[in-house]
């Protein structure tokens, strides 16, 4: 049955791609006109060329995508490797009746093949064809296919999700997700669209808000407080909005050995995380969230291409017992009851380092600019921070792995399965060696370089024991898995 050797071309694509042309360059400013001209001269032909050059077809064994104008890229995705086929529709394509087909291979965080602006009908057809190919392959006895979509879609209706979020929960999550970042992004966008926001504001102020304006202008304090309150309110509501948009009807299913995740309001997203691709588990919280027993579970994953790694949110917002339940279902690691602390020397070292850093910043000011004796008042603060840091730092050796916990304001807990460790390392600088402490770090694939699960200032003897124990477990695990 080699009937599907055909090329599918999408029609509504061009119009949609051309949309930015109509929205830009409506200003009278000559610069914008020039930009629009440049845009018209280069981008439109480029878009057209890209559209003409973009080709994809399905052969019995592969999905082939040719793309690119100057650098041409030919991508062949073996059908048996395809894990998940996702059809995504964001708001605008929804109106235009197009969809994005994303093809995921074994556990990669990013889609390996993306076909954008395909008609909805075509998209479904593509998915059906690919599935059918896979089914045929399985029947032929290759047995290599990882696809369990069929199983998923059959069981989707019946199976109980291992975690899902009610609307109320999504709102609560947003309420804790206070962030000024989106606000900043919003204002920069505003500035981009409308170069003179004062027009809008003066209209607003002359109209309904006129009495407010008078009182604000008379009192700088009121203005300050109002400003802060407005920012806080906007940050808070934008947090809620983002959370709702992202996690609306969040649902996590465990089917076979894969996690299926589905969520979103405007953009419906759907994803698959094979458990064997999970490198480590990260539980995040902050002091406020922890106060109300809220946590977030992320999975550190790795794609087939080693360069593609990512952190997948498995449980966006849940209580501890819910996280525990999910962890138990996923299997492998659990949150230990007891943590061992690092050496108390870490308080001293951290305080000293912070003080030196503060001194380096403040001393030049003190000598050449102004009196900075108040800097001494920072010392108790530094000490308090150091103690908080020590209290929050802990580790635990479990049967299946190693757990590291740290962070004062952003608390992280890494659950690192022994079998996923890549390299074992210990290091200590001159001062640490003098004080008899060492750092320990177990590297995993795709670990964040910005937030490493490194454990500092462990007594040297204990550090050695930990490395030895874990390495022994690692070797034993190897032996068990081979036999």
């Amino acid at each position: 049955m080699t009937l599907l050797q055909r090329m599918v071309v999408s029609l509504p694509a061009l119009g949609f791609i051309l949309l930015p042309v109509f929205t830009s360059g409506d200003s009278t400013a000559w610069f914008n006109l020039v930009l629009a001209g440049v845009y018209a001269m280069f981008i439109i032909p480029w878009i057209a060329l890209y559209y003409i050059r973009f080709r994809y077809w399905i052969t019995p064994t592969e999905l082939v995508i040719h793309s690119g104008v100057i650098t041409r890229r030919k991508r062949n995705i073996p059908i048996e490797r395809i894990q998940n086929i996702e059809i995504e529709q964001s708001p605008l394509p929804r109106l235009l009746g197009t969809a994005k087909v994303a093809v995921y291979t074994a556990g990669s965080a990013k889609a390996e093949g993306v076909l954008e602006y395909v008609g909805v009908h075509d998209a479904q057809e593509i998915r059906e064809s690919l599935r059918q190919m896979q089914r045929m392959m399985q029947e032929e006895g290759s047995g290599q296919s990882d696809l369990q979509d069929e199983a998923f879609h059959v069981s989707e209706a019946t199976s109980e999700p291992i975690f899902q979020m009610s609307t109320r929960r999504v709102f609560t999550a947003g309420a804790f997700h206070f962030s000024l970042l989106y606000l900043a992004a919003f204002f920069s966008l505003l500035q981009y669209i409308e170069p003179d926001p004062t027009v809008f504001f003066s209209w607003l102020l002359r109209g309904p808000l006129d009495p407010w304006r008078a009182s604000i202008e008379s009192s700088p304090w009121l203005a300050g407080i109002l400003g802060v309150l407005t920012a806080a309110f906007l940050g808070w509501t934008s947090g809620i909005f983002i959370s709702v948009n992202r996690f609306h009807q969040f649902r996590l299913d465990l089917i076979g050995n894969k996690l299926h995740r589905k969520h979103g309001l405007l953009t419906l997203a759907e994803g698959t995380i094979p458990l064997k691709r999970v490198q480590s588990l990260i539980i995040r919280t902050n002091p406020l969230m922890q106060r109300f027993d809220w946590f977030r579970l992320e999975l550190q994953t790795l794609g087939i291409d080693l360069k593609e790694s990512g952190f997948q949110v498995a449980v966006p917002f849940a209580h501890r017992h819910e996280i525990d339940a999910v962890l138990e279902l996923i299997g492998g690691m659990s949150i230990p009851d007891q943590f061992e602390s690092v050496s108390r020397i870490t308080i001293r070292r951290f305080a000293l380092r912070m003080s030196i850093a503060a001194a380096i910043i403040l001393l030049p000011f003190h000598i050449w600019v102004a009196d900075m004796t108040w800097g001494l008042a920072l010392l108790p603060l530094i000490l308090a921070l150091s103690i908080a840091r020590y209290r929050n730092m802990g580790f635990a050796l479990t049967e299946t792995g190693f757990v590291v916990r740290k962070g004062i304001f952003r608390k992280h807990m890494w659950l690192i399965p022994t079998e996923k460790m890549q390299a074992f390392s210990m290091d200590g600088n001159y001062f640490q060696r003098r004080l008899g402490v060492q750092n320990v770090y177990f590297d995993t694939a795709g670990a964040s370089p910005m937030q490493p699960a490194e454990l500092v200032d462990i007594p040297i003897g204990r550090a050695r024991e930990i490395v030895n124990d874990l390495y022994t477990a690692f070797s034993a695990d190897q032996l068990a898995s081979k036999s």
Partner: protein, 190 residues
């Protein structure tokens, strides 16, 4: 063949996997040095030449500044003093640091892992399990070629230790290590 390097095959690899301690039970990781291999001594010369070049550039920069300030009345020191200091400091740095680096560098290819210990101020002890190898490179730069030295670069899927390099090996040794270690590269899924 250098002393202390155990030649291993796949069979002994599997036998040795069980319950083996990687770290000699010693204080502060210093005594375990005796059981590990040193680098080829020629690497000290290579490092000296390389640091020497950088220090030479630094010295030249100081010299240029000094010449430009030749007629400056209130300069820091008489003409020639600053470049001389730069020369002395640069020379001693490029003389001592490489030999210290050499003194603290140790490695060993053990049955199931590669152990690297190095660092003057910050001493790092890394254990790379052989089954975690992604690929291996042997590289040689201009100076290393002159002394027939090679550098072995071990790539793992980790982030911080995604490429661990082992410099200062005799080229033959580097190639031997590579050939031995490459048998352990597996397609094992992560």
């Amino acid at each position: 063949m250098r002393d202390g390097v155990v030649v291993i095959t796949r069979d002994t690899y599997m036998e040795n996997t069980s319950n083996k301690s990687i770290l000699p039970n010693t204080e502060a990781g210093v005594a375990s040095f005796s059981e590990l291999n040193k680098l080829a001594p020629e690497i000290v010369t290579v490092w000296r030449i390389k640091t020497g070049i950088w220090m030479g550039i630094f010295m030249l920069a100081v010299l240029v500044v000094d010449i430009l300030n030749f007629f400056d009345s209130d300069k820091l020191a008489p003409f020639g003093v600053l470049p001389a200091i730069a020369l002395i400091v640069g020379f001693s740095i490029s003389w001592w640091i490489p030999s210290l680096r050499y003194a603290y560098w140790r490695y060993a290819l053990q049955p199931t892992e590669l152990v690297l210990v190095h660092g003057i101020f910050n001493r790092v002890h890394t254990v790379v399990p052989l089954r975690r190898l992604q690929h291996l490179d042997v590289s040689q730069d201009l100076f290393e070629r002159e002394y027939e030295l090679g550098k072995l670069i071990i790539h793992t899927a980790g982030t911080r230790s995604s490429d661990v390099s082992l410099p200062g090996l005799a080229m033959s040794e580097a190639e031997r290590l590579r050939d031995e270690m490459k048998t352990y590269i597996t397609d094992e899924a992560l």
